[in-house]
């Protein structure tokens, strides 16, 4: 262990940790209610900047050999995840007095950062747990509503089951290969004896559970609806992105063997179809987004059928496009209590109350539906191109037809906003922070719409 490497390589994590400590001290030191938003924001910005800097400098370092190493792909993933937290922070400003929200959020992001640098299953497990545990608490922060408690509990229990599955998978992997290194997973895939196969399946199922792939999706709609809007936005974007990016790290060096194709393609396909079908009849906006995110988890796992460089490219582009679009939709949701914001009826006539918000939500929905020219289309194209390049044309066609099922419910949101009459009351202009959050999402979206090549060439 080299002290200097530990200091530079872990810079994003250190900044996050300092931020958490600072917030704790501030909380202890002051008895008045305060906004901790500016502090948190500065911390997140600094951490994202540090991560991006490490990436752009092609920095690589190994502060803890065998456990924790930093490479450009990991730094990029950190930059993406921390960057997506910034709009979440901005939109949450008024809803949580006190630092609890910020501390929990930063801890969760810290966990996600550990994931992208983990070299062994131990660090990976630590990262996943550190990322998930604060979110259970975050969901519970909205506990003034009775259904919140239920949703949080469900999330906790199912999440715990996921943890247990992961641990079992890890120990089987250890049993089959005698190693805790992440590379042991790739080894286990090639091994093919029953223990190794069980290990692969269990680890994969744990990831499916965290990413909400059918049939392990049951927690998502309830948890999404139970939490307050910023927390839902965080779960739908940052957590999902982190799980998928970690899975990409886990799959480094793996060419998917035919025996695994059924698991890697069938469940995601079911997820796409089921998620899209169920989303059609939801009357709550966040439940709809939950089912949509279940479908999107399906598309994302499709990417793993493809070969290595394309897989990374597809997943990174997809989580960025998908995350930005979801954040944009959540940021622009009309104000009100969580229950009011949830109702689809509340969106009716939004265009006349607030054209800016309505147009941005519409763009987000079209992008999620994968309709060009929005980045969601290029992302979908990337995924299915890789699947076809890998020779799985049949699966790709099935997945594309599954994605067709999703168009209707996204259009329904636009129909509500533009084509239905709503109450005539004018929407209050958004707070400056929320407006800033929408800009933080909008500018990269415009960049990716006009020049998708800019990002793709850099991956």
């Amino acid at each position: 262990m080299n002290t200097q490497t530990v200091l530079t390589a872990m810079l994003p994590e250190h900044i996050l940790l300092l931020g958490i400590l600072l917030l704790l001290v501030l909380e202890i030191g002051s008895r008045r209610e305060r906004e901790f938003l500016p502090v948190t924001l500065v911390v997140a910005f600094a951490a994202a900047f540090a991560a991006a800097r490490l990436y752009l400098g092609d920095y690589a370092g190994t502060p803890f050999p065998g456990q924790f190493s930093v490479d450009p792909t990991g730094s990029l993933a950190k930059a993406v995840v921390i960057g997506m937290t910034i709009p979440v922070l901005l939109m949450s400003g008024g809803e949580f007095r006190g630092p609890r929200f910020s501390i929990l959020l930063l801890s969760s992001v810290y966990g996600a950062c550990l994931l992208f640098s983990s070299d062994s299953f131990l660090t990976l497990f630590l990262g996943i747990e550190l990322m998930s545990l604060p979110v259970y608490a975050l969901v519970l922060l909205a506990m003034n509503r009775p259904e919140s408690v239920e949703g949080a509990l469900k999330y906790l229990i199912v999440g715990g089951a996921g943890t247990a599955t992961l641990l079992l998978g890890i120990s089987f992997t250890f049993g089959a290969t005698g190693s805790f290194e992440l590379a042991a997973f790739a080894q286990a895939i090639t091994l093919g004896d029953p223990l190794a196969r069980a290990a692969v399946v269990l680890v994969l199922l744990a990831f499916y559970l965290k990413a909400a792939v059918v049939p392990f999706h049951g927690w998502a709609p309830d948890a999404y609806e139970a939490a307050s809007v910023p927390v839902t936005a965080y779960m739908a974007t940052v957590i999902k992105a982190a799980v998928l990016l970690a899975a990409v790290r886990l799959f480094v060096g793996v060419t998917v063997p035919p025996s695994l194709v059924a698991l890697l393609a069938a469940l995601p396909l079911v997820s796409i179809v089921w998620g899209n079908l169920t989303a059609m009849k939801q009357e709550s906006f966040r439940r709809m987004i939950a089912y949509s995110s279940i479908a999107h988890a399906g598309y994302l796992f499709f990417a793993f059928l493809g070969a290595e460089p394309g897989r990374y490219e597809a997943v990174v582009f997809y989580v960025i496009a998908y995350g930005l679009m979801n954040l944009l939709a959540f940021v622009c949701l009309p104000t009100g209590t969580d229950t009011v914001r949830d109702q689809m009826d509340n969106l009716k006539g939004l265009f006349h109350r607030s054209p800016y918000a309505a147009i941005l939500i519409a763009a987000a929905m079209l992008s999620l539906a994968g309709i060009p020219p929005f980045p969601g289309f290029v992302a979908k194209f990337l995924i299915f191109r890789n699947v076809i390049d890998a020779g799985y044309t049949g699966w790709a066609v099935a997945g594309l037809i599954g994605s067709y099922l999703g168009i209707y419910f996204y259009l329904r949101v636009i129909q509500y906003m533009f084509m239905s009459e709503g109450e005539a009351t004018a929407e209050a202009p958004p707070r400056a922070a929320v407006f800033a959050a929408s800009l933080v999402c909008l500018l990269p979206v415009i960049l990716l719409t006009v020049f998708p090549g800019w990002l793709i060439d850099r991956l």
Binding site: F351, P355, L366, I371, P372, P373, F377, V378, F381, F384, R385, I388, D389, A390, G391, Y392, T393, G394, A396, V397, L400, I401, S403, Y404, I407, Y408, L411, I414, Q415, F418, M419, F451, P452, G453, I456, D457
Partner: protein
């Protein structure tokens, strides 16, 4: 300004128009209308300049721009004009200002959004026509759905939500399969020749095995056939037309339907010559069915918009017949017929819109004897009706006559060789002309003659704006009918090239095996 730059200006002017509209303060609706008209008129003028500069004796693309867009995948921003798209670009730019002017009095709600969406769809349509890169083409192709969804859904009639969802879901289904085909096509090109490219010219050169060609052709053809629409995939069209606002109907009939036929002539047939050779008979049969079936349905409708909608199905059947005949005259006739249909159907929808603004009814039975009530209106209506029927000296005659001539040209050698079905098809297509006269004259007779009645009286005849709009269209109809030569000359080389591409026997015969280096699916 060089011509290539001018073409880019033509493409992006509508986006500039949206920018200007966004800057206009909300209450200044008249200013918005003025801006929209001015931008569209400018676009038309620029297009006219380009049309004049377009050299009919040069093969291939002119006024090209080619810039890397997604360099990693070989996707280029590649636009240019050739003989296949030049007339359609001209038609799109020509209808633009008329659509805008036609909506001056009809659209009172959300004016800013409306003209923004008209600009947006104009941008997407223009882009689809001039794109020379498959990825770019697909992006523009799909983008068209968004503004049309909103135009029908916000400013449409009573069942607008149903109609607009049906329109989008129908078209999107075709597009999804086309997307899979696009990816697979580009992938096969890469495995076959090592080129990572989406350029049309590279893809034309790809020689796929016949079984792959058939599947890919099926996916492309389904998407295009829905857009045309070819019977039996037409059911979205009457709903969309009837519920759309006038401007929406004009864009739909005038330009959007041509996307399907343009897709066939630019991509569907020439990309897959093997599959085309195998499936032209089916395409021809479906085209003739569309001609006759569309005409028969038009004959029994009582909603004026529906009559014109079904007549569109019939008229686009001719286009498909001409394209599938693979005879030079037939192909050129099909292109002329596309433009002609854009003018006549667009004009008729504008006229229906004008009477609807006055009487708020589209029910044919509610009207009669308008010739006495609205003499100027009736003259224009009669001219456009006769043009749609295909009276000589109008554009409709040129188009239909050439297409039928092409069909007979193609059928005759086959008849001499002993197969008579192409001749039967061609003769059946002629039946469509008779039916066409029947339903259009039935419409004109009930509408213009007989006892004078209208749901809302007294009626005011056309005002100056409306007269100017219709006079422009009528002038274009006669120009195309009286001097088809100059227009056809511009398309001739491209039509020849298309013909060669589709008829060409590939160097290696179509082998029934997979390209080398492919895993099992």
């Amino acid at each position: 300004m060089s011509e290539a730059v001018m073409l880019n200006w033509i493409l992006f002017l509508p986006m500039l128009g949206i920018g200007l509209l966004l800057l206009t303060p909300k209450p200044r609706e008249d200013l918005m209308r003025g801006i929209s008209f001015a931008v569209m008129a400018l676009q038309f003028l620029l297009t006219l300049c380009l049309y004049a500069q377009f050299d009919a004796d040069v093969k291939g693309l002119q006024f090209e721009t080619r810039l890397p867009w997604i360099a990693d995948w070989g996707v280029y921003y590649h636009v240019g004009l050739d003989g296949l798209n030049i007339l359609l670009v001209l038609l799109t730019a020509f209808l633009g200002p008329l659509v805008v002017a036609g909506a001056f009095s009809a659209i009172k709600k959300d004016v800013k959004l409306f003209y923004s969406m008209v600009f947006f769809i104009q941008f997407a349509m223009m882009g689809t026509f001039i794109a020379q890169d498959l990825f770019l083409f697909y992006v523009f192709w799909e983008t068209m759905l968004i503004p049309m969804f909103l135009i029908i859904g916000i400013w449409g009639g009573e069942r607008r939500i149903y109609a607009t969802l049906k329109f989008v879901l129908y078209t999107a289904f075709g597009s999804i399969l086309m997307l899979a085909a696009v990816i697979y096509l580009v992938y096969s090109l890469k495995t076959q020749s090592g080129i990572n490219s989406f350029a049309f010219t590279d893809l034309y050169a790809a020689r796929l095995p016949l079984n792959a060609q058939i599947l890919l052709f099926g996916a492309f053809a389904l998407s295009f056939a829905i857009k045309v629409p070819i019977v039996p995939l037409h059911t979205w069209l009457p709903d969309a037309h009837v519920e759309a606002p006038t401007a929406g109907s004009v864009i739909l009939a005038g330009v959007l339907l041509k996307m399907g036929t343009y897709g066939f002539i630019k991509l569907g047939f020439p990309l897959f010559p093997g599959a085309t050779a195998a499936y032209t008979p089916i395409v021809m049969v479906l085209a003739v069915i569309s001609i006759v079936y569309g005409a028969c349905l038009a004959l029994v409708q009582n909603d004026i918009k529906k009559i014109i909608a079904y007549s569109s199905i019939s008229h686009l059947g001719y286009v498909m017949l001409g394209l599938a005949s693979l005879d030079l005259i037939g192909i050129q006739g099909a292109i002329i017929q596309m433009v002609s249909h854009g003018l006549t159907a667009g004009g008729l929808f504008l006229m229906v819109g004008m009477i609807y603004e006055r009487c708020h009814s589209r029910d044919l039975a509610a009207y009669g004897g308008l010739a006495k009530l609205l003499p100027v209106y009736s003259v224009f209506f009669m001219i456009l009706t006769l043009a749609a029927v295909g009276l000589p000296t109008t554009s409709g005659f040129t188009g239909e006559f050439l297409v039928l001539m092409g069909a007979f040209n193609a059928a005759w050698p086959l008849y001499l060789a002993g197969s008579s079905w192409p001749l039967v098809l061609a003769c059946t297509a002629v039946l469509g002309v008779v039916l066409g006269a029947l339903y259009m004259l039935r419409l004109a007779q009930q509408f213009l003659y007989g006892e004078s009645r209208a749901p809302h009286q007294p009626l005011s005849d056309l005002n100056l704006r409306e007269k100017l709009i219709l006079a422009t269209i009528v002038a274009a109809v006669f120009a195309l009918g009286l001097f088809p030569d100059s227009f056809m000359h511009k398309t001739e080389l491209a039509a020849r090239e298309y013909q060669e591409r589709v008829m060409a026997q590939p160097a290696q015969a179509w082998v029934m095996n997979e390209p080398a280096g492919r895993n099992a699916p």
